[in-house]
């Protein structure tokens, strides 16, 4: 850790501050005027971002274990504590969240015109919930944060959403609630089972991980419950149908957070909990085959369905199904390259899909339609918008040199060792991705400018550029020089491979070249 950070005791307070700051921010947002709400929220989220940046240097990701850990008994009688910690995986997810959040506030600047205080208060609550999910190291606490995140999103869709918002928000709620209740059950039963074996009732992550073998014959059921909860969130085919509806109806910031962060809570759950707890079940032949088949369906089917969507937002939503399929493939291939790649897809998707949703939102604010057929030829009137749209789409297509490629390449390369056929089928996803995005690009910004309403479109404002440029910069940086990010993820993934494959399997797929300097 950098000395200047250490001298502030940064590692002692940062995680707790990241959790509490947004909640504290809710107070001035609610008490202040409606007009001031967005400014307060921006200040709070920017402060959160600045504070979180120190983690980049403060977290020692090399051991691959949880760092900056802290644990305070919360309900000692039930073995529940307030426990947090962070490793390379959580580090990236936290930073992705804190980066997207101020952009979301800026992106909502003019589009949210009613009940601003409630909106920004919910956004800040959501921030706490998401950060909590990624750093909680007590399963009960994790569940609490999971719910804390769920409810604001439900309201954001249900109140500030589009015409069909009620249907979408209830569908979102039912799907994810069913999943999360199942997860609560699994957490409770798992903790009790472990308590039965060890004599200690505790929801602490490490305790459960160390003694997960106690679960014995109930492991398949517990894994199933966890897996179902996370699979709905990812979403894995066939649990994905809530996603297009939720995205289409959600306000822009809702879509950005949904795609950018919330979906990754599902894959994060697999990486952190479901698979390491029950590697015997997760990596058993038939579960592996099932997941791989579903992941491949997600990749190909998501892309094909995206191709024929008449609504831009739905197109982007289905593309998420496709991208997240790569993540699932990467996790189950379980080589250090495929896992690191999966993480890169998660981050990269946050940037590119986040930016895509912002761009679609900016179009919507101008024309109040998301129908692809309502556009065409607008590159002529909004060149800057079109340029950024193209760059972001290319990143999503996986053009080498932009961030999407790094993740997909590593996932596919890593998977090819253990599942060559699956990797081969998944690689066709790169063809379909180009098909749906280039076709959409053509129908939106190219072709003839044949609708009068589009002739008077205004190009991006400074505020909109401020929203997009950080994302585009990240897209370029992580495409050209991802090494610093990869370096921070890799050790945690090595540990994951060790956990799920045992020492021998670990040697086979993850060994590090000894001569390589760090």
């Amino acid at each position: 850790m950098a000395p200047w950070l250490a001298s502030m005791g940064y590692d002692q307070w940062i995680l707790h501050l990241l959790l509490i700051l947004p909640l504290l921010g809710v107070i001035p947002v609610v008490l202040g005027s409606a007009a001031a709400a967005r400014r307060t929220a921006l200040v709070v989220t920017l402060a959160e971002l600045l504070l979180s940046l120190g983690l980049w240097w403060a977290v020692d990701t090399r051991p691959g274990t949880l760092q900056l850990t802290a644990s305070i008994p919360w309900i000692p009688a039930w073995g529940i504590s307030y426990a947090v910690g962070i490793d390379g995986i959580s580090l990236m997810m936290v930073l992705l969240t804190t980066l997207l959040m101020p952009l979301c506030v800026l992106g909502s600047w003019n589009s949210i015109t009613s009940r601003e205080r409630g909106y920004y208060a919910l956004l800040l609550t959501l921030l706490t919930g998401v950060i909590g999910v990624f750093i909680a190291t007590d399963l009960f606490l994790f569940y609490v944060f999971w719910e804390v995140m769920l409810i604001p999103m439900y309201f954001i869709i249900g109140i500030w959403g589009g015409k069909n918002r009620l249907y979408a928000s209830i569908k979102f709620f039912v799907f994810t609630m069913a999943g999360s209740l199942l997860m609560l059950v699994a957490i409770l039963v798992f903790a009790w089972t472990v308590a039965g074996g060890t004599g200690t009732l505790s929801f602490a992550y490490q305790h459960l991980l160390d003694n997960a073998a106690v679960a014995g014959r109930s492991a398949p059921w517990l894994f199933g419950a966890f897996a179902l909860a996370f699979a709905v969130k990812v979403p894995v085919f066939p649990f994905h149908t809530w996603l297009p509806d939720a995205h289409v109806e959600a306000p822009t910031a809702g879509s950005v957070l949904l795609a950018g962060v919330l979906l990754k809570m599902g894959t994060y759950g697999f990486l952190r909990f479901a698979v390491p707890f029950f590697p015997g079940v997760a990596m058993s032949a038939w579960v592996t085959n099932l997941i791989l088949v579903l992941a491949l369906i997600g990749i190909v089917y998501g892309a094909l369905v995206a191709m024929v969507q008449p609504d831009i937002k739905k197109l982007v939503a289905y593309s998420s199904v496709s991208h997240l399929g790569f993540v699932m493939l990467g996790i189950w291939a379980a080589t250090v390259q495929s896992l690191t790649g999966a993480m890169m897809v998660m981050i990269g998707h946050g940037f590119s899909t986040g930016a895509l949703f912002f761009l679609v939102g900016m179009l919507y604010e101008r024309r109040h339609t998301r129908e692809i057929s309502a556009y065409g030829g607008i590159a002529r009137v909004v060149p800057v918008f079109s340029l950024l749209f193209t760059v972001v789409a290319l990143s999503s297509i996986g053009l080498p040199g932009l961030n999407g490629f790094v993740g997909e390449f590593l996932v596919l390369l890593g998977s090819f060792k253990t599942h060559p056929l699956a990797a081969g089928i998944a690689a066709t996803g790169v063809i379909f991705a180009a098909a749906y995005l280039l076709w959409a690009l053509q129908r939106i910004i190219f072709n003839r400018l044949d609708q009068r309403e589009n002739e008077s479109l205004t190009d991006l404002s400074v505020r909109e550029l401020a929203v997009l440029l950080p994302l585009v910069a990240g897209i370029l940086w992580m495409g050209l020089y991802p090494a610093p990010v990869l370096r921070r993820i890799e050790p945690a993934m090595m540990r994951f491979v060790q956990t799920v494959r045992g020492p021998i399997g670990y040697m086979n797929v993850a060994l590090r070249a000894p001569e390589r300097e760090r």
Partner: protein
């Protein structure tokens, strides 16, 4: 599956190169900077055409100087191994350690010179050709970006870095084909090019994965070292790897079955067709096979496939070229056909001959395209002056242009003789070397005699359709129109100047690799010797010598001359009707004119079914019908019904149900778990 820990043998770290070579990244950085500046100008000051021209052409000349300096240094101090310029660590994960690094050796030096040299000329030509276009700055920014990516492609020291350039040039090709995007056909063509190339890129990806897990490296130098040890010669693994690589090459270099995008790509401005779709990008596939010659020479079957596909494509595309009327379409099919020759060369193991033809083709085909550009420029100008809606690219509307554009005529005629293989022009030497090598291999493997025969037949067709192009465009009576004829004129010097330089190169390009037969020293052969050393040991060539060689050469020359003569006489035998008055094509001519209906076939068999299935079965059927209809909403309806029942019995509080649900589920799970 396990692998031995021995896989961790460290590759001998090459020492960093000194001198000019360490600055080779400048050759990429300059066009890249040009892209950024011209791109900014395109957004902010699209009218600053002088600045755009100076920057756009200047960065190319700068890159050419860097390339020439590197070439000179390589000549002065020939390195034993390729010089590797390390830039930064790109993707280090586990064993995988992909660095962003450039490789300078004899092969990349040749490609550098071609790309920056021909590129500079075409940039210069574009100053005149595009001058009236409102997207002038945008055009030059794309063109600069293309050159930057093309140089990454030829300089990449590993497959992934090459792949950055490989897909990058694909992107620029997409943007430039659809440059005039307001016309839907143009943006369709750009999209088609990108998508078809992506099918090929899929092959390159798979090849990379297979290579990595079998050889444990993606660096060309390391693969070359390890491949003979790790990959059994003629084995399934190396054959599969090379076939997947070749799929990529077939996409990028427009070979059967992925050639369909290139003729459509003519929708782009003509300088683009010259630079990207004739001289440089489309030859990348040939370059890749030559670059990985140490793999292809281990896989005789793959090499035969490469040669076979090349020969068939050469013949197939040439036959389509016989019956096209759009001047650029003729040249496009000609390019597909000539690329087929190059693959016939590298597939035969005549890597140097393949590269030689790549270089000479870059000269004469760039000249032909730019000449066609000059013609179109004049035709367009003439029709524009009279507001005529006639097709400025249809050769049936031309004729007799030699009187109006003597320079263009003379130079295009020269290029026509070069591509037809008339001695002593450049194309004669390079094409002859390929055909001789194929014939030579035919001595031991008879199938190559067939390939050679196809090549010879394609050569006859080439001579025919090229002379037909010259005759229809420049000879005979003019058919442009009485008024329009007054406006036909030679292009400005900024356009004919580059043509002249390319003319000299087409004329004298043969000097690069003059065979011993005519007392030459085979300079290119010796220059590239280190690059193909391994391959020429593994897959030695037997070149015909003595009387047989003389017989082959004479045969080829006779075929070329006959083709030219027949093309000339037959085209002018009858008066040519203008495009408007032309009768419908009939019989086999129609099949050729409609390009064997391959596009229609792909559309009916692949594109339409895929979109239809996606829309009606996957989306409306499975997603909305099955999952949502029966699954989600159905169960919601079921729950609603249950809730109604519950509300009759209970309070109907949601919280109550949640509690019941949780407790019930806990109970069930515990019961099962026990």
């Amino acid at each position: 599956m396990t692998f031995p820990l021995l896989a961790v043998v460290a590759a001998a770290a090459p020492e960093a190169p000194t001198g000019v070579v360490q600055w080779i990244w400048l050759a990429v950085a300059l066009p890249l900077a040009g892209f950024l500046v011209n791109g900014a100008l395109a957004l902010r000051r699209p009218q600053a055409k002088t600045a755009v021209s100076v920057i756009g052409v200047g960065v190319l000349l700068g890159a050419f100087v860097v390339a020439a300096a590197a070439f000179a240094e390589l000549r002065a101090h020939p390195p034993e191994a390729p010089l590797i310029v390390q830039l930064w660590r790109w993707m280090p994960v586990g064993f995988l350690d992909i660095r962003f690094a450039f490789q300078v050796d004899q092969l990349s030096a040749v490609m550098l010179l071609v790309v920056t040299g021909v590129g500079s000329l075409i940039h210069l030509f574009s100053v005149g050709y595009m001058h009236a276009d409102e997207g002038y700055a945008r055009f030059f920014s794309y063109l600069n970006l293309f050159v930057a990516f093309m140089l990454v492609l030829v300089l990449g020291a590993s497959l992934p870095v090459l792949f950055v350039g490989w897909e990058g040039v694909g992107l620029c090709s997409y943007l430039l084909i659809g440059f005039w995007y307001a016309v839907e056909a143009n943006s369709d063509a750009g999209k088609k090019a990108f998508l078809v190339n992506r099918i090929g890129d899929f092959g390159v990806l798979i090849a990379m994965f297979m290579l990595w897990w079998s050889v444990r490296s993606l660096d060309f130098v390391t693969i070359a070292e390890r491949a003979p040890l790790r990959l059994a010669a003629g084995g399934t693994l190396v054959t599969t790897i090379t076939l997947f690589l070749f799929l990529g090459c077939a996409g990028k270099s427009a070979q059967i079955p992925l050639y369909v995008w290139l003729p459509d790509a003519m929708a782009g401005p003509t300088p683009v067709s010259a630079l990207i779709h004739a001289a440089t990008m489309v030859t990348a596939g040939v370059y890749l096979v030559a670059r990985t010659n140490f793999l292809f020479s281990l896989a005789p079957l793959s090499s035969a496939v490469v040669a076979g596909v090349g020969a068939v494509t050469a013949l197939f595309a040439a036959s389509i070229g016989l019956r096209q009327y759009d001047i650029k379409k003729v040249l496009a099919y000609s390019t597909v056909s000539q690329l087929g020759y190059m693959f016939l060369g590298v597939g035969t193991g005549a890597y140097v001959a393949g590269i030689f033809h790549l270089v000479t083709h870059a000269f004469f085909k760039a000249l032909l395209f730019l000449g066609a550009g000059s013609v179109i420029h004049a035709m367009h100008h003439a029709y524009h002056a009279t507001h005529s809606q006639q097709d400025a690219q249809d050769m049936r509307n031309m004729g007799g242009l030699r009187r109006h554009m003597p320079w263009t005529f003379a130079l295009m005629l020269l290029a026509t003789f070069a591509i037809a293989g008339v001695p002593p022009l450049s194309g004669f030497f390079s094409k002859d070397e390929i055909l001789s090598a194929a014939f030579g291999r035919g001595q031991t493997q008879p199938i190559w005699i067939l390939f050679w025969g196809m090549g010879l037949l394609a050569a006859a067709m080439t001579a025919f359709y090229m002379m037909r192009l010259i005759a229809m465009t420049f000879l005979g009576q003019n058919r442009t129109g009485e008024v329009e004829r007054q406006h036909l004129h030679e292009a400005p010097w900024v356009m004919t100047g580059p043509l002249l330089v390319l003319g000299v190169l087409s004329l004298a390009g043969g000097l690069l690799n003059l065979p011993a037969l005519v007392g030459g020293g085979a300079a290119l052969e010796r220059w590239l010797e280190p690059v193909v050393a391994v391959a020429s040991r593994q897959m030695p060539l037997v070149m015909p010598e003595g009387p047989l060689e003389w017989a082959l050469v004479s045969g080829a020359v006779i075929v070329a001359l006959a083709g030219l003569l027949v093309g000339w006489r037959l085209t002018l035998a009858r008066p040519i009707p203008t495009a408007e008055d032309a009768p419908e094509e009939v019989g086999f001519g129609r099949v050729l004119n409609r390009k064997y209906y391959v596009d229609e076939l792909y559309d009916a068999l692949i594109v339409r079914p895929l979109v239809g299935i996606s829309r009606w079965i996957l989306w409306k059927g499975i997603d909305q019908g099955v999952i949502d209809g029966i699954g989600a909403n159905g169960s919601a309806g079921f729950l609603r019904g249950l809730g109604w029942l519950g509300s009759r019995l209970q309070s109907g509080q949601l919280g109550f149900y949640v509690v019941v649900f949780v407790l019930g589920a806990v109970w069930i799970l515990r019961a099962v778990a026990r």
